[in-house]
C-alpha cells in the first residue's frame, strides 16, 4: 500500500522528466527544420525527408543487413575488449605494482586517437573484418581496463580485512566481495565503451570496408546524397539509444538495487 502510494506520488515527476526529454527533442527537430529552410535541401534536408528516406531504407531491406554487419563487428570488438579489459584491469587492481605499472600504458592507449589505430589496423589486417574489430577493441579496451582497475582499487580495505578474517575462499572473494563492488565501476565503463565501439566501427568501415553502415555512408557521400547520409546517421544513433535505454538501463538498475532500495516504486 505504501509502495503503491510512493509510486503514485512519483508519477508526476516521472512524467514531467519524460515531457522534458520529449520537449527538448522537439526543440531540436524544430531547430533542424529551421536550419534546413535556411540552407536548403541539398545541404541539410529537413527531418521529415530524412526519416522518410530512413523508412525507405528499412522497407527496401537495405538497412538491416548493413546494421547487422556493423553490429557484429562492433560487438565482437567490444566483447573482446570487455573480456580482456575487465579481467586484466581487476588483476592489475589487486596488485599495487601492477596498477602503478599499467597506468602510463593505459594513458598512452587512451591518448592515441582511434584514427591512428585504424591506419595501423588497415596496414595489418587489410580490408578484412579484422580492421574494424581491432580498432574497436583497442579503442574500448583502456576505458574498460581503467574502470576495472579503479573499481578494484577502491574496494574498502576494511571489507577486505573482514573477508580474510571470515576466511572467504578465493572464489567467494571474487563473487561476493570484489565483483559486486567493481561492477558499479565496470558497468558505466561498459556503457561508455559501447558508445565508443559503435562510433569507432562506423568510422573504421567508412575507410576500410565494403559493407556495413560505414560503407553505406561512404557510398551516400560519394553520391552527395545528404538525405540518406543523415538517414544512416539516425539509424546508428537510434540503435545505440535503443540498446542503452531499453537494455542496459534496466540491467544497471537491477545490479544496483542494493544502493537505493528505498528509492520507491518507479525503479
Amino acid at each position: 500500500m505504501t509502495l503503491l502510494r510512493a509510486w503514485l506520488a512519483g508519477i508526476p515527476a516521472y512524467l514531467w522528466s519524460g515531457w522534458g526529454a520529449i520537449a527538448s527533442l522537439f526543440l531540436f527537430f524544430a531547430a533542424w527544420e529551421a536550419a534546413a529552410t535556411v540552407y536548403g535541401v541539398l545541404i541539410l534536408p529537413p527531418p521529415g525527408t530524412v526519416f522518410s528516406t530512413l523508412a525507405g531504407l528499412i522497407d527496401s531491406g537495405t538497412a538491416w543487413p548493413e546494421l547487422a554487419v556493423t553490429a557484429r563487428r562492433a560487438l565482437t570488438g567490444l566483447a573482446l575488449a570487455i573480456a580482456a579489459g575487465s579481467v586484466l584491469g581487476m588483476l592489475a587492481g589487486v596488485s599495487m605494482t601492477a596498477s602503478m605499472m599499467s597506468r602510463p600504458l593505459v594513458t598512452v592507449l587512451l591518448g592515441t586517437p582511434p584514427i591512428a589505430w585504424l591506419v595501423l589496423a588497415m596496414l595489418w589486417f587489410g580490408a578484412s573484418d579484422g580492421t574494424p574489430v581491432f580498432t574497436v577493441f583497442i579503442a574500448c579496451f583502456p576505458v574498460i581496463f581503467v574502470g576495472a582497475l579503479q573499481g578494484t582499487r577502491t574496494l574498502d580495505g576494511h571489507l577486505r580485512e573482514m573477508a580474510s578474517v571470515f576466511r572467504l575462499p578465493a572464489r567467494m572473494k571474487l563473487t561476493d566481495l570484489y565483483l559486486p563492488h567493481v561492477v558499479s565501476y565496470l558497468f558505466p565503463a561498459w556503457i561508455t565503451a559501447l558508445g565508443t565501439s559503435w562510433k569507432v566501427v562506423v568510422m573504421a568501415e567508412l575507410l576500410s570496408s565494403a559493407d556495413g553502415v560505414g560503407a553505406a555512408l561512404a557510398v551516400s557521400r560519394s553520391h552527395l546524397d545528404t538525405a540518406s547520409t543523415l538517414a544512416w546517421i539516425c539509424a546508428v544513433v537510434g540503435t545505440l539509444l535503443a540498446v542503452e535505454y531499453l537494455l542496459l538501463e534496466p540491467i544497471k538498475r537491477e545490479l544496483e538495487s542494493w544502493r537505493q532500495q528505498d528509492a520507491g516504486g518507479l525503479t
Binding site: H158, L159, E161, M162, S164, V165, F166, R167, L168, P169, M172, D176, L177, P180, H181, W258, R259, Q261, D262
Partner: protein, 291 residues
C-alpha cells in the same frame, strides 16, 4: 588440554611510532578477557594482531583456537548483501548449503533482536545499533571457539546491552567460547570478564590486571557496582585514563561520589550536582574530576 591464546612480549609499531610495547597475556577456552584503556592506546591494534590481520613484529603470538571470529569496531557489513546474507557470510565461506545457513542466520538474527523485516534490509537501511548487532550475529553464527570483539555493545541502549550480555554468556557456557573484548565501559568489563586488563597509552602497555573470581553469571548487581568503584580507585587505572588520583584525606567522600558517578544508572548520573563530572562514563582523559 584446553585451547589457549598466548601472547608474550608483543610489541608493535606503525612506521616509527611505537603503539604497543611488551604485551603478555593468556586467554584460555571458556574465559573472558576484557581490555580497557584510553582511546588510541592500541587496543584495536592488539586485537588485529590476534586476528592475524597484522604481522607480528616483535614478541610472540600463538593461538590453538580453530574457529576464531572477529567483531570489528565498525560493523563492516557488505553493503550489497541483505542483513541475512551478511550474517550468513562466514557460514557460506565454510561451504554450508544455502537453506541451512539462511535458517541459521535467521535464528542468530532473532537472538540479537533483528526481526524478519530487518533481515531483509540492506545494511544502509539499518540503524547503527542494528548494524553492530548484525555484525555480532555474523560472528556468533560461526559458533567460534575464540571471539575477538572491539567495543561490541557501544552503540546499544542499556536494555539491548543487557540482553546481548546474556546472549554472550549463554553462548560461552554452551560452547566453551574464549572471549577477548575491548570495551570503554568499565562496568560492562566487570559484568562479563574473568580478567580485566587495563592499558595505558604511549606506548600501549598493560598497567593493571584484575582477576574476578566469581563466575560472571553469579555476579550480583551490587557486587558489580562495588567492584567497578574499586577499580576506579586504583591509581594505575586513574593514571591511565588521565583522571585525578584519589587523595587520601577525603578519600571516603571522594570515593563515594566517584563510585556514585561510576556505578549508578544514567538517571542518577544526570541528576547529580555539578560537583563531580561523570568521569566514569568513558570520557577518557577528561581532566578535572573534582573531588
Amino acid at each position: 588440554m584446553s585451547r589457549e591464546l598466548r601472547i608474550d612480549g608483543l610489541a608493535h609499531a606503525y612506521a616509527l611510532r611505537s603503539v604497543l610495547d611488551d604485551i603478555s597475556l593468556r586467554l584460555t577456552a571458556g574465559r573472558t578477557l576484557a581490555l580497557v584503556g584510553p582511546s588510541g592506546c592500541g587496543k584495536t591494534t592488539l586485537l588485529h594482531l590476534c586476528a592475524g590481520l597484522l604481522t607480528v613484529q616483535k614478541g610472540s603470538l600463538a593461538s590453538d583456537f580453530l574457529r576464531p571470529a572477529v567483531m570489528f569496531q565498525q560493523p563492516r557489513l557488505l553493503p550489497w548483501k541483505t542483513t541475512r546474507d551478511n550474517i550468513a557470510l562466514g557460514l557460506k565461506a565454510t561451504g554450508m548449503r544455502p537453506a541451512e545457513r539462511e535458517a541459521r542466520a535467521e535464528t542468530m538474527g532473532r537472538a540479537v533482536g533483528l526481526d524478519k523485516l530487518a533481515l531483509d534490509l540492506f545494511p544502509h537501511a539499518l540503524s547503527g545499533g542494528m548494524q553492530s548487532r548484525a555484525a555480532l550475529a555474523r560472528a556468533l553464527a560461526l559458533s567460534p571457539d575464540l571471539l575477538l570483539m572491539d567495543e561490541p555493545f557501544s552503540a546499544l541502549d542499556i536494555g539491548l546491552k543487557g540482553q546481548l550480555h546474556r546472549l554472550l554468556l549463554d553462548h560461552q557456557t554452551e560452547h566453551g567460547l574464549a572471549v577477548l573484548m575491548i570495551t570503554h565501559d568499565l562496568m560492562e568489563a566487570v559484568r562479563l570478564a574473568d580478567t580485566i586488563l587495563v592499558m595505558a597509552a604511549d606506548p600501549g602497555r598493560l598497567v593493571h590486571r584484575v582477576e574476578l573470581t566469581t563466575p560472571a553469571r553469579q555476579r550480583g548487581e551490587s557486587d558489580i557496582y562495588r567492584t567497578t568503584a574499586e577499580l576506579l580507585q586504583e591509581p594505575a587505572v586513574c593514571a591511565s585514563f588521565g583522571l585525578d588520583l584519589p587523595r587520601t584525606g577525603i578519600a571516603t567522600g571522594c570515593h563515594h561520589r566517584r563510585s556514585g558517578c561510576a556505578v549508578l544508572p544514567l538517571r542518577a548520573c544526570s541528576s547529580a550536582d555539578g560537583a563531580g563530572t561523570c568521569a566514569a562514563t568513558p570520557a577518557p582523559r577528561k581532566k578535572g574530576f573534582s573531588c
